[in-house]
Symmetry: C2
Subunit: 159 residues, 2 copies
């Protein structure tokens, strides 16, 4: 499980930023679709991570099966190929409705490294979330840090 996630993470990272340039009138639609899809991706991260966070904080009782399901979902999401979600020109300067900074497309190696950190953290969470509340709690920090690292560096502040 872990291993395949890490391998897929590499594939995803390698594909990141490789989208072909898109020109013409289809471009706006394609960029808008990509922004919509990556927001959906983030939405599903938040939905699954929220369930884990609620258990970690004691907002809801720990449930091993539910924790494992949410963590596997999160790991599966992070392992997906996301290259098509981040086409050139889909930054906050180029399209509406995104806080993605242009720096994303100027720092490919760092973005890939941060993406791999997220995939790894989610993979370790998937391996541990079903093993009790303390095991889950022990993995929350790395997941949160991985989310935050990318948001801090590459997301514009909310208005």
């Amino acid at each position: 499980m872990m291993k395949s996630y890490v391998i897929l993470a590499g594939a995803m990272a390698a594909a990141l930023l490789s989208s072909a340039a898109i020109g013409g009138s289809h471009a706006d639609k394609a960029l808008a679709d990509a922004v919509k899809a990556r927001k959906a991706q983030m939405q599903l991260y938040a939905f699954n991570l929220g369930q884990l966070g609620d258990m970690a904080k004691g907002v809801v009782p720990y449930d091993a099966a539910a924790a494992k399901a949410a963590a596997y979902n999160l790991a599966a999401l992070t392992a997906m190929d996301q290259s098509r979600l981040w086409p050139q020109g889909s930054d906050e300067m180029g399209v509406d409705g995104t806080r993605a900074l242009p720096a994303i497309w100027e720092n490919g190696a760092d973005v890939m490294a941060k993406s791999e950190q997220m995939t790894k953290a989610a993979g370790f969470m998937a391996a541990e979330a079903g093993n009790g509340l303390e095991a889950l709690q022990a993995k929350m920090g790395d997941v949160g840090a991985a989310c935050g690292a990318c948001h801090k560096a590459y997301r514009a502040p909310a208005n």
Copy 2:
């Protein structure tokens, strides 16, 4: 690959509709969050399936790597545990912004069977999408049919 998807599909199906009842003022928020998350799930289906469909129809040139990536994404999405996306009460009668018919919660076995069909069709697509345009095209019908079967039975018409 195929095998693990099918096994996960079974786990997902078994979990479907098993959400605990939620009461009180948190209920509306929980239902709204679930609707938002499942729309994100559908959005990512559409985004990835759209790429495959565009290739199948010749709208864009066939690209083996891109086809495989989109198909693997679709398969990973269908294999996710979606039980938390469909809590009791989150039908079109209970909450705004969804076309999910109450019949979903009255036909658990059929919903599960349709869900498994989708997971299987996406898994076969993942296995074939990288093997040439004709191989991809040959699998589109089953994927589309699986989407349509659930939408036809369990989604209210658009207004």
